[in-house]
């Protein structure tokens, strides 16, 4: 059966976002023979996706790390860049199974750094399955990958600083963004903004305090109630404070914060500090020896946290443990920011009842919320796993990545983390490829 290529490295980093890039560049500088694996065609992760593409403008930070990475790849040890390569499983100790256009690949490592980042949290409301309703980061990433947005009207909604970044990006790309609907309480947001003293956060602070970007209203205490088709466009009903308001738009870009991609960490057997958050020690090492984690999977905290954690993980994995201590201060600051972020953008309970019983919650299998009575009702389930077995909720190709966190939020039940390979859909050929081992 199909050939299985094999590559062997000292250190393998999964995820080429800020955390993974920092880890890779740092490990390489320390002399390690490393590989950076990512399922995208470009480094940069979610935030810096195609940041090297002139069309999209450059941030100083992004340019610095992309150059860093390019030097590492050209340098003596030579960082290997495995792009458009998806890690789908861990067949044996110290071995990853991956898939790319060229087929199946086994990647061997001594040390592993997980920097698999985060995805958006999507919550159901009437109309959330409409094709013109996308994630906030989702629409941004489509625009980054070639979708023209000039002159299009986009409502940005949901929660978190990402909404501002997305609105800003879309406007630069030519979109009209009349308003950002942020579900968090205005008082919390003002308190959060006032605390953003450090430089890179300044922009965010300015935007929050000003109540938006120029020409875009930033409404706190605001969230989408429904979206429906109206003459080829979308009609979006929003709750804004005590009022309701209807907006017409080409797209609703909506995400309620981020959820870490912890599936590989779970498959590797890493312990969790709390749900969705991988436990690490001072050197970013997880409970599994020689497996490190950096960035969103140790707690949603943004780009600066990702970079410093990546640096620490890169140094530690390369055996330069003593050099990590000088970075602890930066990390402490980033972690303090993380804590404030979480507090400010806590999801309000009203969001649990946006969708009625007929609304689809599992988009892969079209299971409705009404089918999932956990706790009481005619058919009652004892856990999400139980509900899954009987309704197919979470059984589709996304394997509960989208509905799992939403159901957990709505019902209060714990998310089902029975992670099985492949962690992402893989061709049967990949799983059948014979390593001869």
């Amino acid at each position: 059966m199909g050939e299985l290529r094999r590559e062997i490295f000292d250190i393998v980093i999964i995820g080429a976002g800020p955390a993974g890039m920092a880890a890779a560049a740092t490990a390489c500088a320390a002399g390690a023979h490393a590989a950076l694996v990512d399922d995208n065609g470009y480094a940069g992760g979610q935030i810096w996706r195609r940041a090297n593409n002139a069309r999209h403008g450059k941030s100083v930070l992004a340019t610095r790390w992309i150059n860093h990475l390019q030097r590492s790849a050209a340098g003596s040890g030579g960082l290997a860049r495995l792009q458009q390569t998806r890690v789908v499983g861990m067949p044996r100790a110290n071995v990853l199974l991956a898939e790319s256009e060229r087929g199946a690949l086994e990647i061997h490592y001594d040390k592993l750094i997980l920097a698999t980042g985060a995805r958006e949290l999507f919550l159901p409301f009437p109309g959330w399955t409409h094709p013109r309703v996308m994630g906030a980061g989702g629409l941004q990433s489509l625009v980054k990958s070639g979708l023209p947005i000039v002159g299009r009207r986009v409502i940005v909604a949901g929660s978190g600083p990402l909404l501002l970044a997305v609105a800003n990006y879309l406007r630069h790309a030519g979109a009209i963004v009349p308003l950002i609907a942020e579900q968090a309480h205005s008082a919390e947001i003002l308190r959060f903004a006032a605390g953003l003293a450090r430089t890179p956060a300044k922009l965010l602070q300015a935007a929050l305090l000003r109540g938006g970007l120029i020409g875009t209203r930033y409404c706190a205490d605001a969230w989408p109630l429904r979206a429906q088709e109206s003459g080829g466009r979308l009609s979006v009903t929003l709750q804004i404070g005590k009022r309701r308001r209807v907006e017409t738009a080409d797209y609703l870009a909506c995400g309620f914060g981020l959820v870490a991609n912890v599936e590989l960490a779970a498959l590797a057997g890493c312990k969790f500090a709390r749900p969705g958050c991988v436990a690490v020690d001072d050197c970013q090492e997880t409970s599994v020896k020689h497996v490190f984690a950096a960035g969103e999977l140790t707690g949603i905290g943004g780009v600066e946290k990702a970079i410093v954690e990546g640096q620490i993980a890169g140094l530690a994995a390369a055996g330069r443990t003593t050099q990590t201590a000088r970075l602890f201060g930066n990390r402490d600051a980033a972690l303090a920011f993380t804590a404030r972020l979480e507090k400010a953008f806590t999801l309000r309970p009203e969001l649990k009842t946006l969708a009625g019983p007929d609304e689809i919650i599992c988009r892969c299998e079209d299971v409705t919320l009404g089918q999932l009575t956990i706790g009481d009702g005619d058919q009652t389930f004892h856990s999400l796993h139980d509900a899954k077995l009987h309704t197919r909720c979470g059984m589709g190709p996304c394997q509960g990545r989208i509905c799992g966190p939403a159901v957990a939020f709505i019902t209060g039940a714990e998310n089902d983390l029975r992670i099985r390979p492949p962690i992402l859909p893989a061709r049967v050929a990949t799983l059948a490829a014979d390593g001869g081992a």
């Binding site: 999507f122 990958s145 023209p148 689809i360 988009r363 299998e365 079209d366």
Partner: protein, 82 residues
């Protein structure tokens, strides 16, 4: 259009930006219904990052490929609505 390639979408040729993914190309030519859901709803991309699987289309005869993760290639054949 600078730097374009021609891909076949549901049997018809379309000129699309060379630097785009299949998902972005489909939306650009006005194709919003990527797949038909289990209960018959039309769906399109949600996450844009290879997680939600809503953007699945058939590419060069292989079903269920993620269009948001796949760059366009000259002559590529894409089928939607499956």
């Amino acid at each position: 259009m600078p730097d374009t390639v021609v891909i076949i979408i549901n049997g018809r040729p379309h000129q699309v930006a060379e630097q785009s993914t299949v998902a972005a190309a489909l939306l650009t030519v006005g194709e919003t219904l990527f797949r038909t859901s289990v209960s018959g709803q039309g769906r399109g991309p949600l996450c844009g990052m290879g997680i939600c699987m809503e953007c699945r289309v058939e590419i060069d005869g292989v079903p269920a490929r993620l269009s948001c993760q796949t760059p366009v290639r000259s002559g590529m054949e894409v089928r939607t609505g499956g």
